[in-house]
């Protein structure tokens, strides 16, 4: 600290850049800062890298094992040798039950609890970020991560499929065949579907994150809930419950591979996820607004 600056007193920072000048940063500015923070973090890239490994491993395994596999393994797997485009779709199918929820759990579960554990939550709040505004921004950042995560799997899968296997028109589930451009658009639609699928889970993770100052707890709880929900979804005895599970439509993007595309499942899924978003968003707000920040 130079004495000159110190003795400059309040004239120092403020006379030169008075608070009256210029518009304040809005919520978008805070979101920008949040995304910058998220994507400047090595952990975020490690998560995306792990997701990228899924299609790479699938493609390499199929390529190195030579001939077409014998009907076992995930759907679409036996199509890969005919058409590299199926690597991306196969990979997303593999990633949905566990890997994607795990990465979402890490990001959403860390949202508030991570700030609390670093002590930065108190400084964000006295900035003041505003409690609801901070939740909104944290949720938006988690949603952006969902987009990044699904795109990573689909894009890396498509690219490596392109590199290692023949590429051509894609035969759909309905038997029709579509060109390369059409197929790529459908892959993007699948990425959008999966992203939407993860929005409910993100809201759950955000809520759990407001309950604790131990981020690992919120992360693990979020991922475990995703697994439990899928297990419940597989139990016929609980069939009445199935339509209400946030994982109910997770694997339902096959409709996007028909001709013409059937959008019903997409709509049902979006509605269900919106319901989870509203309920758990409200719970998160209710909890966070009254929370004593003691960390």
């Amino acid at each position: 600290m130079s004495s000159r600056e110190a003795n400059d007193g309040p004239v120092g920072v403020d006379a030169r850049v008075g608070r009256s000048g210029g518009a304040g940063g809005g919520t978008l500015s805070l979101l920008g800062s949040e995304l910058l923070t998220l994507f400047r973090r090595r952990r975020t890239w490690a998560l995306l890298g792990a997701l990228a490994l899924i299609p790479i491993l699938i493609a390499l395994a199929v390529r190195l094992s030579g001939g077409p596999p014998t009907g076992r393994g995930p759907a679409f797997l036996d199509q890969i040798t005919n058409n590299g485009f199926f690597v991306g779709v196969t990979a997303i199918l593999v990633a949905i039950p566990l890997f994607l929820p795990l990465t979402i759990g890490v990001v959403a579960g860390d949202a508030i609890a991570g700030e609390a554990s670093h002590g930065t939550l108190r400084y964000l709040l006295i900035a003041p970020a505003g409690r609801i505004r901070l939740l909104l921004v944290k949720y938006a950042a988690a949603a952006v991560f969902c987009v990044a995560a699904t795109l990573t799997v689909v894009v890396v899968g498509t690219l490596i499929g392109w590199a290692l296997f023949p590429i051509g028109p894609v035969t759909l589930l309905s038997g029709a065949t579509v060109g390369v451009g059409d197929a790529l658009l459908r892959f993007l639609a699948i990425a959008a579907y999966v992203t939407v699928s993860l929005l409910g889970l993100s809201a759950i993770g955000l809520f759990l994150s407001t309950l604790t100052t131990v981020p690992v707890g919120a992360m693990a709880a979020t991922a475990i809930l995703a697994v439990v929900s899928q297990i419940v979804g597989a139990l016929p005895q609980l069939e009445w419950l199935h339509p209400w599970l946030f994982t109910h439509y997770w694997l339902g993007f096959g409709d996007l591979m028909r001709d013409p595309i059937v959008w019903d499942t997409f709509g049902d899924n979006a509605l269900l996820q919106a319901g989870y978003l509203v309920v758990f968003g409200a719970l998160a707000v209710g909890r966070f607004l009254t929370k004593d920040v003691l960390s």
Partner: protein, 324 residues
């Protein structure tokens, strides 16, 4: 009476069964440098958290810069810079990136001047050269300095600093002192919690002392010290001396540390002591005159000015153990 920058009435915080802050009535005048003192666990940080709207009070109310907290956090907090329970930053971001982040969280902080303000704040705490370094690699004192820089990002009407010199080297401590003085000269009210009484004596105009969640003293520094001063009269006429001192309104009948007491000394004279201050603020020369007029043979007269430290110990007890 000047306006109050911070004003609380019956402010109370209870954690389960424990009362951390108990019926606190604080009055921090605008423009003052206010020392907030108290032993470990006496409720200083908890009070600061309530003032800043981080924690909801169990009872009582708090006004900061004239507005009710926590209802007006959004309009009050942009005018307040704070360091609460030590600095805290994201370890994986550089010092500069951390400051930019907190600045972006403040809706009133102009984006266009962000880079300039961050650079100036870093310069002000002597961290310009470490601006690009990850905070995870900062030393304790460097983090503390960065925490101060964060409080100085904007022009503030009130600074709330919880132990700002914790972990600082002697140069850093001196700079913080001069920083506080210069900010106060510019009209900023500074509310600073500390254990370093020498420090408080050097920069503060006012102070309050907490003990086990309660406010045990509050006022200007002179008032605090003054009420701890003693008159020592050496005389062979202790009875008459005591009567005169009592007549002057000097506190009688206080316990251990206060009141009028007499002690026999080696020469046979007695040493009569009385606490100075209280309701009647008699000047020393007036006390001597009164004693002499009453025929007391005054053989020695002394005013013993209590140090803030002595006063602090008087108020909060000698015990070293944390009361919790």
């Amino acid at each position: 009476m000047p306006d109050l920058a911070i004003e609380t009435h019956g402010l109370t915080k209870r954690f389960r069964s424990q009362v951390a802050v108990d019926g606190l009535d604080l009055a921090v005048p605008e423009g003052s440098v206010f020392g907030f003192l108290g032993p470990n666990g006496s409720g200083k940080t908890t009070t600061i958290r309530m003032l800043l709207g981080l924690v909801a009070a169990t009872a009582g109310d708090a006004r900061v810069l004239g507005a009710d907290m926590p209802h007006h956090v959004d309009s009050v907090l942009p005018r307040v810079g704070a360091l609460v329970e030590g600095p805290a930053f994201s370890p994986y971001l550089s010092g500069e990136a951390n400051l930019r982040r907190f600045d972006a969280a403040d809706r009133h902080a102009p984006r266009g001047t962000r880079s300039d303000r961050v650079a100036l704040a870093l310069e002000r705490v002597g961290l310009s050269h470490a601006a690009k370094k990850k905070v995870g690699a900062y030393s304790l004192g460097m983090k503390q300095r960065l925490g101060l820089a964060n409080a100085l990002l904007m022009r503030r009407e009130l600074l709330v600093l919880d132990e700002p010199t914790n972990g600082l080297d002697p140069q850093g401590t001196r700079e913080v002192r001069s920083l506080i003085r210069s900010l106060a000269d510019g009209g900023t009210t500074v509310f600073v919690s500390s254990h370093l009484l020498a420090e408080v004596e050097q920069v503060c105009t006012h102070a309050a002392v907490m003990s086990v969640g309660r406010l045990v003293a509050q006022g200007t520094l002179d008032e605090l010290r003054g009420s701890g001063s003693r008159v020592l009269v050496r005389t062979p006429d202790p009875g008459r001396a005591r009567a005169v001192l009592a007549e002057l309104g000097l506190p009688i009948g206080e316990t251990a540390a206060g009141g009028i007491r007499s002690v026999m000394d080696a020469s046979g004279d007695e040493l009569v002591t009385a606490r100075l201050g209280g309701s009647a603020d008699a000047a020393p020369e007036a006390i001597v005159a009164a004693l002499v007029n009453a025929g007391v043979r005054v053989r020695g007269f002394e005013i013993e000015r209590a140090s803030l430290e002595q006063r602090f110990v008087d108020l909060t007890g000698e015990g070293f153990d944390v009361v919790a």
